[in-house]
């Protein structure tokens, strides 16, 4: 097992071959359908994509919703990470268990319970009405707010894990040190805690943004494609399954994949990320 070669071996080769069949071929079909169908060419449907008001507005809406979700998730996750980082061991384990267990739960199930929570007869809308925040008991389902809330809820554990993985283990001691130097809590938070965890926050934001661009289940269930809840994934499904327009569906899919790969490349270029990748792959923890 100490043979280390520069050629792709059979183990790797077999998996790559499987990937070629199951991943590359479908993507190839996507490109093929986007490029050449009976009625148009690639430039044709891409052009339509860029200029037709419907498609442009859906793309912009998708980006807007994804940005909203990313920012909201970041804002909600930071206090949670703060609590996790400074909690005693027992409490931290309990909280981590709660967060992790919500990750096991199916996306469908979680979106589904938000439908219930946000509909007319739920305690939430009753409470809002009680506190005079809404004029009548309203249902929030099929609104953009519902989609953002649902997606936040589902992507929050990911953000929490990303940020907390960047926090050094001795953060409690750092806090005590800052307190002993008479720093205010706000100072500690802004000048110590945030800078330490900012790397994880950036990685988390990138990941959450990418995931929410391509999200299908939550927008489909909580938004339904009405009004301003239409996201690109819903459009793809509509085009392919309901309208049978394979060409447009393929073009949209290729576009989405291209956009995600582009954002990913931009996010992976920075030097710290490449260093991290190289340390992971060479199993050395102190690469310079």
């Amino acid at each position: 097992m100490n043979y280390k070669g520069g050629h792709i071996n059979i183990q790797l080769g077999s998996v790559l071959f499987f990937y070629a069949l199951i991943l590359i071929v479908p993507v190839g079909f996507l490109a093929y359908y986007a490029a050449a169908d009976k009625t148009g060419s690639l430039s044709g449907s891409l052009h339509q994509l860029m200029t037709d008001g419907l498609y442009v507005s859906v793309l912009l809406n998708t980006i807007y919703i994804s940005l909203l979700v990313t920012v909201t998730t970041l804002l909600i996750a930071y206090p949670v990470v703060f609590v996790l980082a400074h909690a005693s061991n027992k409490w931290r384990n309990i909280m981590l268990l709660a967060v992790t267990s919500s990750m096991w739960i199916n996306v469908l199930v979680r979106s589904f319970s938000w439908i219930i929570l946000l509909s007319k007869g739920s305690p939430l809308s009753a409470a809002l009405y009680f506190f005079k925040l809404t004029s009548t008991e309203t249902s929030f389902t099929y609104t953009r707010l519902a989609v953002v809330v649902g997606m936040c809820n589902i992507l929050l554990p990911i953000m929490i894990f990303c940020i907390s993985s960047a926090i050094p283990r001795k953060i409690g001691e750092l806090r005590k040190v800052s307190q002993s130097m008479a720093a205010s809590a706000w100072f500690y938070f802004a000048k110590v805690f945030i800078p330490e965890s900012i790397r994880g926050a950036i990685a988390g934001c990138l990941l959450v943004f990418l995931l929410s661009l391509g999200y299908y289940i939550t927008p489909a269930l909580l938004g339904g494609g009405h009004g301003d809840t239409m996201m690109i994934s819903l459009l793809i499904e509509q085009q392919v399954n309901q309208l049978g327009n394979w060409q447009m569906g393929a073009t949209l899919s290729v576009f989405l994949m291209g956009a995600i790969l582009l954002v990913l490349l931009i996010g992976l270029l920075p030097r710290p990320v490449r260093l991290y990748l190289s340390t992971v792959l060479t199993h050395r923890s102190h690469v310079k």
């Binding site: 183990q11 790797l12 077999s14 998996v15 071929v25 199916n106 990941l207 793809i236 569906g249």
Partner: protein, 259 residues
């Protein structure tokens, strides 16, 4: 002094509220599944188990459940094998393209499942494999390999390398040593990887939406259709069953230290 207490307290309060926000959907789902009425309501006015029995007795729900279990088991086995092969290959390979290959193998995780799904729809339709068990099992295997790879890769260390070398000095071929030395050593990790791949496949809604038809309808697909179109309490019961299964399996796999 007072200033310090109130700021930290505020942040901690926000943190606790954030945590509650995370677990909220699960908490409300459980009592809702025991409702007696035909509609979903929270809190339920009367309780019964009728929706659970409906789940167990109706072919509409129990069929997909069995299919999901079968597909999950098979695709997890394939995914773990693929992940093991890939992990071993990564350990051995030291060429220029190592990072690129690893990223490529990990790519199904961050590529939107909907694009993969649409592509697979096209491919499998052209091949006449649409709505077959083979296509959904292969699709879920693809999704599972990245997870298996990461878990197994973290389990392979230098000690195992040396163990395999020692086996070679005793005259074992690589494949013989694989089955008699390596796999028994990392069997716990392999089982954990299997569990993760099973849960990934069992819970997977998007790909199943595109690749399955009426024949191979998986449970998430059935759940999605039901929530989207008829919204009845059986969905809540099914959801709770899925939660219980996921939790039970995870606890089972972490407690058994004798295996």
């Amino acid at each position: 002094m007072l200033n310090r207490i109130s700021f930290t307290w505020l942040i901690k309060l926000m943190g606790v509220l954030g945590l509650l926000f995370v677990v909220l959907p699960v908490i409300i789902l459980v009592p809702m599944s025991f409702t007696d009425s035909k509609y979903l309501q929270f809190p339920p006015l009367s309780y019964s188990l009728r929706w659970y029995s409906h789940f167990l007795t109706s072919a509409e729900w129990f069929g997909p459940f069995l299919k999901s279990v079968l597909i999950g088991v098979l695709s997890a086995v394939l995914a773990v094998s693929g992940g093991l092969a890939a992990a071993l290959g990564i350990r051995i390979y030291h060429g220029r393209w190592k990072s690129a290959i690893v990223l490529f193998i990990l790519s199904p995780v961050f590529l939107p499942p909907i694009t993969i799904g649409v592509g697979m729809l096209f491919t499998f339709s052209k091949l006449g494999l649409f709505d077959s068990y083979l296509s959904i099992i292969l699709a879920h295997t693809l999704l599972g390999i990245p997870f298996a790879l990461v878990i197994i890769l973290s389990a392979l260390n230098r000690r195992l390398d040396e163990l395999m070398d020692a086996a070679a000095t005793f005259g074992a071929t690589a494949s013989y040593a694989l089955f008699t030395v390596l796999i028994p050593e990392i069997r716990r990790n392999l089982l954990n990887a299997w569990l993760i791949c099973f849960l990934v496949s069992f819970d997977e809604p998007v790909l199943s939406l595109f690749v399955t038809g009426s024949n191979t309808k998986t449970l998430p697909r059935q759940l999605f259709d039901s929530v989207r179109y008829d919204l009845e309490p059986t969905s809540a019961a099914v959801a709770v069953v899925m939660i219980v299964i996921s939790t039970a399996l995870t606890l089972l796999f972490s407690k058994r230290s004798k295996i």
